[in-house]
């Protein structure tokens, strides 16, 4: 949760789901999961890298790729980019690199929802394909943790083209016969759901993440009826056959390690 970083002077944080105040230190130790209602709050990409990788093994890739404003989109797009750079400590909506999980080498992309809602424009597309190209060249498995509202509107059709570009990277992994695993976190929707998030060998999801193509409100307007509360959640897509497992954040590192071990033991 971004609050945890923005107001470090406050001792308590309020759970965004149940509203119960949680002691900040406990909240962070708990990986931003509410100890009362188990709500998984959105997690900054760098914090996730710290939690997932063996200590000191993570090395970042392509950290200096940054967005331009190719369509000269007005609406203070550039200002917003600068603001989010300061807020997240990243230059765009994904952190990529490689490291080890319980000793197993793995390349990884971690999306940052705090940066323009995790939206995918040219930078995210380029970093994803470079990640998958490097992984396939080095013979390393790849994991991508998604958190995105979809394609980045301000880059127009360049953004739509990233759906093909990132999937081209996935194809590289398939050709190299290397495991590609995705972890869908809240939210994973539209353009990112409709590209590299959902064409992995193994698809995991965090509990109660919102997943889907069209937005809930758009669907409700179209069909003129209210949708059930659990519509488009991880559990919903697990039931419908689109996800292999819903994994609690506390067990994610162990789960990835187990899978990496099994693929390694072929």
């Amino acid at each position: 949760m971004s609050e945890a970083k923005e107001k470090p002077e406050e001792l308590w944080v309020k759970c965004q789901s149940c509203g119960v105040p949680v002691f900040r230190k406990t909240f962070i130790e708990n990986m931003l999961v509410c100890d009362k209602c188990d709500h998984h709050h959105k997690m900054p990409a760098r914090m996730r890298a710290e939690i997932l990788f063996d200590e000191g093994t993570f090395e970042e890739w392509d950290e200096n790729i940054t967005s331009v404003n190719p369509l000269e989109f007005a609406d203070d797009y550039e200002e917003k980019l600068e603001k989010d750079k300061v807020k997240t400590g990243l230059k765009d909506a994904i952190l990529t690199g490689h490291g080890k999980i319980e000793g197993y080498p793995v390349s990884m992309g971690i999306m940052e929802f705090g940066f323009r809602g995790g939206s995918m424009g040219s930078v995210v597309g380029e970093k994803v394909i470079r990640l998958l190209e490097k992984a396939s060249e080095k013979g390393m498995p790849a994991v991508i943790i998604t958190a995105s509202g979809g394609a980045r509107m301000q880059e127009g059709m360049y953004s739509l083209m990233q759906l093909a570009k990132t999937n081209a990277g996935v194809l590289r992994m398939e050709e190299a016969r290397l495991p590609y695993i995705t972890v869908l976190t809240d939210p994973t929707t539209a353009g990112v759901a409709a590209s590299y998030a959902s064409v992995a060998d193994i698809i995991l999801a965090e509990p109660k993440a919102i997943i889907g193509f069209s937005g809930r409100r758009v669907i409700e307007q179209t069909i003129r009826q209210k949708l059930p509360a659990d519509f488009q959640t991880s559990e919903f897509y697990l039931e419908h056959g689109f996800i292999d497992a819903v994994v609690h954040r506390h067990k994610l590192r162990k789960t990835l390690a187990r899978l990496l071990a099994m693929f390694n033991g072929k």
Binding site: I65, I129, E155, Y158, M161, A164, V199, F213, L227
Partner: protein, 318 residues
């Protein structure tokens, strides 16, 4: 359906028609007046059609008299056999698929199918594909690649269907799966945007080796209305959004995301469909000739290079 921009033109044209009728009655000679009005029509046409805004083009692209996928198939193919159903659940009529013959060559055809009127549109769900439609497209693509048939995709959709069942059946997965498949197919793929290219629902059959747009078609990552709603919470500012998103064929050709634009007759495809069919057919036959001379196994590599380059960013030192 009458477009605002063409209303004055249609009024003049009907006036000319009236005068002609009077003339043929033989009583009066109105040829001078007719000629003057015809000149006025020509001038007005130039004035209107050389200054079309992005929003005007959105209206032309969505015109219900604009030729649909089915019209192109009927006009250009010497034979066509429709292939129905996804072999899983349903036949989605928002997507038309089949094999056909054009220029003496067998090809697979896949396209969004819009209706001409409300009843027709309800049947075809306004050309908004569901997972079953995209999966039907996918199985036809696989078959085409197996037999070495090139694939022609006609793009004309407001977007993927935002419905409850579509989400339950994995709309996002159906789209992602087709994009991945199209990157890997060992056969040429030509994509032709004939009307509306609406985001993911368009792109689900939109990855290819040669991307063509009709002059007045549009292709966008989000509808102008959707973009205006998100940016300004005001869908009525869609015309501004249409301009900002650069969704017209000339803009997309300029930035290299589209390979070819086919000029439309004055007024748009709905005014002179026969002329459009012949231009589209010429382009398809020419492009098929070029792409079919490349060995199939080269196609995925070329496509990789094509899409690998797409995007604009800056790389700062250290």
């Amino acid at each position: 359906m009458i477009l605002e921009i063409e209303r004055p033109l249609l009024e003049l044209e009907s006036k000319i028609e009236e005068l002609r009728k009077l003339s043929t009655d033989g009583r009066v000679d109105l040829s001078v007046e007719i000629k003057a009005l015809e000149q006025k029509v020509e001038d007005l046409k130039k004035d209107i059609y050389s200054n079309l805004s992005a929003w005007d083009k959105v209206q032309i692209a969505r015109h219900n008299g604009r030729p649909t996928t089915g019209d192109y198939v009927e006009a250009m193919f010497s034979d066509f056999f429709e292939l129905r159903g996804d072999r899983r659940a349903r036949n989605d009529l928002a997507i038309l698929a089949g094999i056909g013959v054009i220029g003496g060559r067998t090809v697979a055809v896949i396209g969004h199918q819009k209706g001409k009127n409300t009843k027709d549109n309800l049947k075809h769900n306004f050309g908004m594909g569901s997972p079953e439609g995209f999966r039907k497209a996918g199985r036809v693509m696989d078959m085409a690649a197996r037999f070495g048939f090139p694939i022609i995709c006609f793009i004309d959709t407001p977007g993927a269907y935002p419905g409850k069942e579509a989400e339950e059946k994995g709309q996002y997965e159906a789209i992602a799966g087709n994009i991945l498949k199209m990157m890997s197919l060992r056969t040429p793929i030509i994509c032709m945007v004939i009307g509306e290219g609406g985001s993911g629902g368009a792109f689900a059959i939109g990855v290819g080796d040669h991307i063509i747009m009709l002059e007045n078609s549009i292709y966008s990552v989000i509808s102008p209305e959707g973009c205006a709603t998100i940016l300004w919470r005001d869908a009525t500012r869609a015309s501004e959004a249409a301009k900002a998103l650069r969704i017209t064929s000339d803009s997309l050709l300029k930035i290299g995301l589209v390979d070819e634009v086919i000029p439309e007759p004055e007024g748009g495809a709905h005014r002179h469909p026969e002329e459009v069919f012949s231009r589209v057919k010429e382009s398809l036959i020419r492009n098929l000739g070029e792409l079919c001379s490349i060995p199939g196994e080269e196609m995925p590599k070329r496509r990789y290079e094509k899409y690998r380059k797409m995007g604009v960013f800056k790389e700062e030192n250290g």
